[in-house]
Amino acid sequence: MIIFEGLLLIFLIVCAVAVALTRQLWQAIIIFMSYSLVMSVVWVFLQAPDLAVTEAAVGAGITSILFFLALKRINAMQTGKKGGKGK
């Protein structure tokens, strides 16, 4: 059990470093999403089911939706700008 938990924790750290180093924003967001999900699994191990449910719904769900919406709007603006004027 401890080994599995340790692996999950190492996975979290790798995810956190990867977010800082990836070049593509959407990759960073997906990595962050998996980070949140693994975090909620860790919380199940720590006997905190309330947190696990909330983190899965709010942390992984809502936060990721917000990030993707923001990214979508940024992409829309990017194509809009490129079409408009070459600044």
């Binding site: 340790g6 977010v19 800082a20 960073a28 709010v58 942390g59 936060t63 990214l71």
Partner: protein, 125 residues
């Protein structure tokens, strides 16, 4: 009586490493979206730390089973309550920060904080 726990606190060690990574991403990364993700990592790391501090090996989650209310059966419910509050706070802050970033992108067409600062320099008299 001081004790020195090198590897017993392994969850806390992971939590503070994650905290430092998130903190550094928020402080030093130039991309605003990455900064916000860094902030989220920093906050979840603190929540992991708190959850670890509430955990007591061999005990159950604080949902009473059949009315048994012996404190030595359940883990500490307070950290869970604090973290629940914290998660919602961090989502709210994320939404606000993303809205600001969108506003900035609309105006300057970049997510790079240095570039934005360079572009604003000419604006104020």
């Amino acid at each position: 009586m001081m004790e020195f726990h090198l590897f017993t606190n392994y969850v806390e060690i992971a939590a503070v490493i994650l905290f430092s990574i998130g903190f550094s991403t928020l402080l030093f990364h130039q991309n605003l979206m990455k900064k916000i993700i860094g902030f989220n990592i920093m906050d979840t790391a603190i929540f992991l730390f708190l959850a670890a501090k509430g955990y007591i090996a061999g005990r159950m989650a604080p949902i009473l089973v059949e009315g048994a209310n012996d404190p030595s059966l359940y883990i500490n419910p307070v950290p869970s309550a604090l973290v629940l509050t914290g998660i919602v706070v961090s989502v709210s802050v994320t939404a606000f920060a993303l809205a600001l970033v969108l506003r900035l992108y609309e105006r300057y067409g970049t997510l790079h904080l240095d570039e934005i600062l360079y572009l604003t320099r000419g604006e104020h008299d």
